[in-house]
Symmetry: D2
Subunit: 358 residues, 4 copies
């Protein structure tokens, strides 16, 4: 029931972390689009774990195989299925965790829900599932770019270190030039130092990803329950470890007066624009043509190398010490996943908007 995202453009994902494969099916992808395999691989490599010292040591140079829906390099309009095999899986790493519920992981809740679970590496709850989102996101971006819509996310906070200036003060394209994906070079170094310290302390850290969508036309989003911010919030909160979402001014608007928070309209070259953008590019659930931007909060990765109190399947209180290969901080890699989910959301809304008038 819960493994499909979208209304027209529908991504269904499947796969457990240490099962045979991870993959997805994209239905409703427009026909006739040239699929750029290099771009798909590039996006996957942006997500890959072996990119920095702050990520898991698990080698994930993913090899995606497309099974259907593409013919002579173009989308057919039929479902595009793809798989990525789980080659470097080491289930034995997890044998000691077979009977124990790791704190703040989904081990216990999956058991409560389904009555059984694949205990290896989190099974379905593993962030490895997001590989499928990144593949589908790459395909969605291809269409959006052809429509002049550009999506970029970056790290705006890790632990206590946060950008103090608005995103408009940065050249966002520089974010990819450092391992933490922060467009502020100085802060990036501080973030890296913080993560090194955190790793040495056998601990983990959280942070915030900010996403900016430029070039989105006014008019997309489906009130009242398919409001664009509602769709984006749903998309972002479906990412592992995400705990919060705020659009535009978000929580900071709660302490502003209406006269401060309102975005005045003005006319510029025949376009209707706003002087400020506290709304984050969406009003009443519909895009207004300004930049759409939002923040996503990520909790620290729950897997840490220090001993923790917990309970096993027999209900005994026990102490666990997690081994295996894990990230210190999910945020830099989450940047790519946030972009992918944003791309799927925006393209779906764009396609839906085509049905609103005859």
């Amino acid at each position: 029931m819960g493994n499909t995202f979208g209304h027209i453009l529908q991504l269904t994902t499947f796969g457990e972390s240490h099962g045979y494969a991870i993959g997805g099916v994209i239905d409703g992808y427009p026909a006739g689009i040239t699929i750029d395999m290099d771009f798909v691989r590039k996006e996957l490599s942006r997500r890959a774990t072996n990119q920095s010292t702050f990520s898991s040591a698990r080698k994930e140079v993913e090899n995606v195989t497309f099974l259907s829906g593409i013919f002579k390099g173009k989308s057919l309009g039929t479902p595009i299925a793809f798989v990525v095999q789980n080659e470097d899986a080491r289930p034995s790493d997890y044998e000691t965790l077979r009977d124990v519920y790791r704190p703040s992981h989904a081990d216990y809740t999956y058991m409560a829900k389904y009555g059984l679970r694949d205990h290896r590496g989190g099974g379905r709850a593993s962030a490895r599932e997001t590989i499928a989102r990144v593949v589908a996101g790459a395909l969605a971006k291809t269409v959006l770019l052809s429509q002049g819509i550009h999506i970029q996310a970056f790290t705006s906070q890790i632990g206590p270190i946060a950008l103090s200036k608005p995103y408009t003060d940065y050249d966002l394209s520089t974010a990819e030039s450092n391992d933490v994906r922060c467009p502020d070079r100085e802060l990036a170094t501080k973030m890296q130092d913080f993560l090194t310290q955190t790793r040495l302390a056998s601990d983990s850290a959280g942070g915030v990803v900010t996403c900016v969508i430029k070039g989105c036309p006014a008019g997309i989003g489906e009130p009242v329950f398919g409001k664009l911010e509602s769709v984006l919030a749903s998309a972002m909160l479906s990412i592992p470890a995400a705990k919060g979402f705020e659009l535009g001014g978000g929580f900071s608007l709660t302490n502003k007066y209406g006269s401060e928070a309102n975005d005045a309209f003005f006319e510029k070259n025949g376009q209707i624009c706003t002087r400020s953008n506290n709304s984050g590019g969406i009003q009443g659930g519909i895009s207004n043509g300004e930049d759409i931007y939002f923040n996503v909060a990520f909790k620290p990765i729950p897997t840490i190398a220090t001993p923790q109190e917990t309970v096993n399947m027999q209900g005994d209180n026990v102490i666990i010490e997690t081994k295996g290969r894990h990230d210190v901080c999910a945020v830099p890699r989450a940047v790519v996943i946030v972009e992918a989910m944003a791309a799927l959301s925006i393209l779906d809304a764009l396609l839906l908007q085509r049905t609103n008038r005859i």
Copy 2:
């Protein structure tokens, strides 16, 4: 496309602020439930505008009429339709706004989307639409209560005044005893003073609603795209003026170490419990049996009595001064709407969970 919420329990709402009526259809409501009309009316009166000096002067003692789905006081299992007529509508109040786009309202975006709009009182984008959600929420709460699930929201912040203690330090049932719905009596008075000042300054204010769900069994929520937090985020961001959502520790977790943020499991009377609840009762998208709690950020009401710069339908830069009857702050009334959307989300997830095992 966008006016239905839920998968099994489906609420479809309809109605413009100054059209003939507001209403909804609830499909998938379990059969055989005794409908408590007094409770429905009580919930509607909690939402009504005439309850305090901080709300719009528009008289809204709603009279809901049920059209179907109920027979001899019990739900039939068939769709429950209901309407609330728009009796005290004064469309003439809005005549001056027919051609102008109010800042941070949905006037412009509805025009951009549909090519025409009902300019009276925001039309479909009016918060009046939420009447239908409150009616449906009341019916959902009835079922949840019979299962031991209790939902209560309250005001945790208005403008600069915010609760500093966690919700567990308060007797939440006292929140309803003051106009701002804050469980801290002292802060409630300060909030009321702040709103009085804000009204005098012809301005408006925002704030935060916190919602607590007690008694929800472990196991509900549908990973990976129907995660319970994903559904709740979608539900909350569909409420007018909502700009942010955070589950459990939310954004504050971004600046914590994993060792601080993790919720240790322990066994208590054969139950698996957690020592802390930074997760907000949900792990991996599935409830874990602890309290589910979350915050929703509301921006200040965009309608203010001070002159504002904007643009009219002809594209001219103009100054508008809004009259009409409006709230100073949406937060106290939003409390009821947040509860309603939470109730719909939880009941839907509860029904879905019944299909996960044979």
Copy 3:
């Protein structure tokens, strides 16, 4: 769960036969369409029961009230809700049937499903529910006509009397000129005589409705599960008393050779056409530009004035004799409902097709 039809254009219906009202909500209807209220009323009067001596004596000059979604005569793009009150309801007619399950009615199955039921006039299972479909169908037809798509259904069989010639041999516009809606004047008279005899025998009759859709462009329908014939079959089998559906040559093709059944393509004025149309205008689930046509089988109305063996709620074998006001044959009125469901199906498919290419 089951009261919504369509993907983009979504009709949700509600209402029991002798409850407060019957109605519906249409979501996803294109914005800016001029609503022709006279046409809606005309379609409703085509469905009404008082039109002929073969229909129920229940007076049904329906008064539809639109509650939302229309402003200054045009669709807003927001949900269009409408209600028809149940004015001439005589629940007392049904008091004797409160505890008894009428043969081949839904009394028993509703009880088995929901554990309770509204016994008055069939409750939700009454054909009166189709009023909502006819209203929505009228609105869908308005859009389709603007696109050059014309839908007409007619009676092709009542009891043993059936058209022997293909529909292309008739002027279909003449079907509306007689009470049974048959385009063959001679057969129409025979059908009327047959129905008069059937009524005198206190019995009821079934028949076949044929529907023809002209002007539908090639390319609509969504393989593989949203094939156009799959959608149409689902739509038609949702009509009360419908027991069968066949597209184009249908069941008669089962006894043809491929060389007879195949529709040869040829070029005509730059158009691709077919020499025959056994396919019924759909190939591989997608329209090919030829007429779409299909038959729908209706069983005899189960309510008959002769005594019948059955069981009551206590499980006792009893004899019932049904009184009340009932049709002898549903087919002439079903013509309008078949058209309405076809219009909803085709418009939905047309809107979906807009999302298949960028």
Copy 4:
């Protein structure tokens, strides 16, 4: 948009006939079910093409690989993905058909819809896609059998040769003992002879599949648009070459009186039963506990070895002669696909019914 079937139990299929693979994803499958791989393979072999002389010579001993959702032989409650590689594909067989539209195939309509197509073996429109349905159907049957629900389909007509007795007169288990899957041994031989003659004549034949579902409890099906017959009709008409569906008495009821067609209820051992079963086990869209049975009409296979008039992509009138390996009659293999779609429909309805009462 159109490649997913079901509401709770959702099958998404993918794959073109001569692409890399055919496959599917099953979401919403109950957790904890033991998957019987031998049964899956047995069902696939029932569908396979090399089973008789009347089927295509293409070797299809399918090797299904499950990618996810199963752990230690049991379903996890997470999506079950599976693939079948297209090993014996000979795309060169189809090179001559690259530019031409085969009569009564989907070549032209796919082109009209998507603007491009995979011309090899029908691409997505190939019956090879139904492999995924059979795999999913096998898994659905496993659950249904554990609930005492048994589904069996058989050939009731091929060309002019049809069963004259009702299905209740036969031992249906004997149907699998002959190549045409007909439970009447004598007629089976006649059908085989007819098909041999048809093959010699370079022609093809159609027929009828009858499906019987025993043990289905009363109460499943979701009125009014999710009526069980509506779902079954949609499921059946989504099968390639299906042109008609009739439930119970179906089209034959159109020529019966109500007094003949009605199914009298009676009490037997505390069960409510019906004396006849013209309703086909469904009344008002809900199962009544009797056998559910229906017929599906299949047109002759459009691929024939005789020259046919048609049009090419350039719009020229041409003559084509189809080579390649093709069945003479789809009906015997369709038996398995009909069962699979019935199983998916019934299990989905069964799961939905669990949400109708608290």
